[in-house]
């Protein structure tokens, strides 16, 4: 599937903190419209990789290409403008704001009217406000967050907060969506929902998704493409089946029994 020019291309990326090599000259390519999973043991460098992709970390070496465009001096704001949006592993919500406001804020770049216009309630601003609100409501409805629409996110339970964060990321209608363990702290049923949702987004809006997830079942079911990291190196890159066969992966990451359970699940 990665024939035509990939949406995202990382070449020879390296990142180190102090002595610690977090990522060692890594090459990955994410094709248009695919769902790509990043898996690997804890501390493998998955989140760091996402941070690099949306410009929070600056790689010490290597080249980032998005849609054929080479990004020098990458920054989060630039990433956002290029249609990259993300969720965070440790919740990074706007804690004192309502769910609705969080989602609306996610649409910042979709807003064209300036603040003086909003101040004077000029027609454009009014229309825009309604439009924004409507699309926000859709996402909220879609994630079943209606009952909490007006509650302050810091008062929500962990799992709910996770969902709000996803909603905020979706609100930006991104072309590349980075998800850092979106399903942590959800039960398997909710995970199914979430997986279904991610697939829908991917299919309907053609959003390319890069997702970090530890629940191997979900990963296998969801991804077109899986990349396995192990302490900064890439030890696997391919389809679900290819990965399942990869002994190195089994050793480094999945405990034996998980794999068996895996087989069970896929059977029934």
């Amino acid at each position: 599937m990665t024939q035509q020019t990939p949406l995202l291309k990382l070449e020879g990326i390296s990142l180190a903190f102090g002595g610690l090599q977090v990522i060692q000259d890594l090459d990955i390519a994410v094709a248009h419209g695919e769902i790509c999973s990043l898996i690997g043991p804890n501390g493998a460098g998955k989140s760091s990789l996402l941070n690099i992709i949306n410009g929070i970390y600056q790689p010490h070496r290597g080249k980032i290409t998005l849609d054929g465009q080479h990004l020098k001096s990458h920054r989060p704001q630039l990433a956002a403008k290029l249609g990259i949006s993300r969720t965070f592993q440790n919740l990074a919500l706007f804690k004192k704001m309502s769910v609705l406001d969080n989602v609306l804020t996610g649409r910042t770049l979709k807003i064209s009217a300036t603040w003086p216009e909003y101040l004077l309630r000029l027609p454009r601003a009014k229309r825009e406000a309604d439009a924004q609100r409507q699309s926000a409501e859709k996402i909220i409805a879609f994630l079943h967050l209606e009952p909490w629409r007006h509650s302050i996110v810091s008062t929500l339970s962990y799992g709910l907060q996770k969902r709000v964060e996803l909603a905020r990321a979706l609100a930006a209608e991104p072309s590349l969506l980075l998800l850092d363990e979106p399903m942590a702290g959800m039960n398997s049923d909710e995970k199914q929902d979430m997986a279904r949702l991610i697939r829908d987004v991917n299919r309907e809006l053609g959003t390319t998704v890069v997702i970090i997830e530890h629940d191997i079942g979900v990963v296998m079911a969801l991804s077109d493409h899986i990349i396995v990291l192990d302490y900064g190196r890439k030890i696997g890159d391919g389809t679900a089946d290819e990965i399942r066969q990869n002994p190195e992966v089994l050793a480094a990451y999945l405990g034996q029994s998980t794999v068996e359970k895996q087989q069970l699940e896929t059977r029934h």
Partner: protein, 355 residues
């Protein structure tokens, strides 16, 4: 099916953009406003106007200004008084040096000057965070009074550096009576109050709060951090500048730069903490608290002990009570009087149920 899944919802949210969602609340609000505009000017006494109402309004406005910066945009500032000073002296100099300029215009220009000054002070905020940020506002706090006293030009070379306000005339109307001062202040405050409400419920307001709560996330959503912060500084300073001008022109009638010292900045910070960070009504509740509490205390103590008692002792006791009350509120209602008020209403709505 992504969107088909979402169930249909009304497309007009004007009702939610309203000042208050509840009809009763709207009622109460307009009633209060009418009362303040029409009834009070008739029944108020000189003392109430010039010793309580005007300072209350001005401080409330200042609180609102600081609230925009600290409550909404999350930038702690200890320089509010400095901004007020800039506003006051700027307005004074516009009045003085541009013949025939209208009072309101010079207020507005004063606000603009303050806003620019605020931007200057805000610049370090991109790099300096948290408590360390108070340094730039503190620098302003100490620099401004020094500058205003050091260079006579600002106070038109009055020997002592004290400026005294010119006549209050707007559109030929003379506002020099106590009730006139009150009305002038009130109308300006109402105007700016509405403006603030709109700003805060616009995308800009949301961006402020986003930057306050989690700037990394804000950045990766695409919010321009520095620009947002600087806008907060500018607009907040604008409000404080106007407040300063009113303080000088409509309340005291004179100002010396030292009237805007650090303790004034703290007073304003008190107002928004007590009243409620990130709440417009809170700014005014807090102001009412700060203005009325000391007066009530002193009246109370004179009523209780009369003049015979050792005044110094009474004063210190009052100080203790004041401090205690503040702490009491912080403990009881961390989100301020505004929140307390909301609580009461929620309870009433649910009544007799508990939750």
């Amino acid at each position: 099916m992504f969107f088909s899944q979402a169930r249909q919802i009304t497309t007009d949210y004007r009702s939610e953009r309203r000042l208050f969602r509840l009809k009763q609340d709207r009622w109460v609000f307009w009633a209060v406003l009418a009362f303040a505009l029409i009834v009070i000017p008739r029944i108020g006494t000189d003392y109430w106007f010039s010793a309580i109402l005007v300072p209350f309004l001005v401080l409330g406005l200042a609180g609102l200004g600081l609230n925009i910066l600290t409550g909404y945009a999350g930038q702690l500032s200890l320089g509010s008084a400095a901004f007020m000073a800039v506003g006051a002296f700027a307005a004074y100099n516009f009045q003085l040096r541009i013949p025939g300029i209208s009072l309101l215009l010079s207020f507005f220009l004063g606000g603009i000057v303050t806003a620019l000054f605020g931007v200057l002070i805000g610049l370090p905020s991109l790099r300096i965070k948290g408590f360390y940020l108070i340094v730039s506002t503190l620098a302003a706090q100490f620099f401004v009074p020094w500058m205003l006293t050091q260079y006579g030009w600002f106070s038109n070379y009055s020997a002592s550096g004290v400026i005294s306000a010119p006549k209050l005339e707007v559109f030929g109307q003379d506002f020099n009576t106590p009730s006139g001062r009150y009305l002038l202040t009130l109308s300006i405050v109402i105007l700016l109050g509405f403006t603030a409400h709109r700003l805060i419920h616009s995308p800009l307001g949301r961006n402020w709060m986003a930057v306050r709560d989690m700037d990394t996330a804000a950045a990766s959503i695409g919010i321009p951090i520095l620009r947002t912060k600087l806008l907060a500084f500018a607009i907040s300073s604008f409000y404080l500048g106007i407040a300063g001008a009113l303080w000088a022109f409509a309340y005291l009638g004179t100002v010396e730069p030292d009237g805007f010292d650090l303790s004034r900045s703290f007073q304003i910070l008190f107002i928004i903490i007590i009243g409620g960070l990130g709440s417009i009504s809170g700014s005014f509740l807090g102001a009412a608290f700060i203005v009325l509490l000391p007066i009530t205390l002193s009246l109370g103590s004179t009523a209780l002990f009369g003049q015979g008692a050792d005044q110094a002792l009474l004063q210190n006791l009052q100080k203790i009570i004041f401090g205690s009350l503040i702490i009491f509120f912080l403990i009881k209602e961390p989100d301020g009087l505004a929140r307390l008020w909301r609580h009461l209403r929620e309870r009433l709505k649910l009544w007799p149920l508990r939750y």
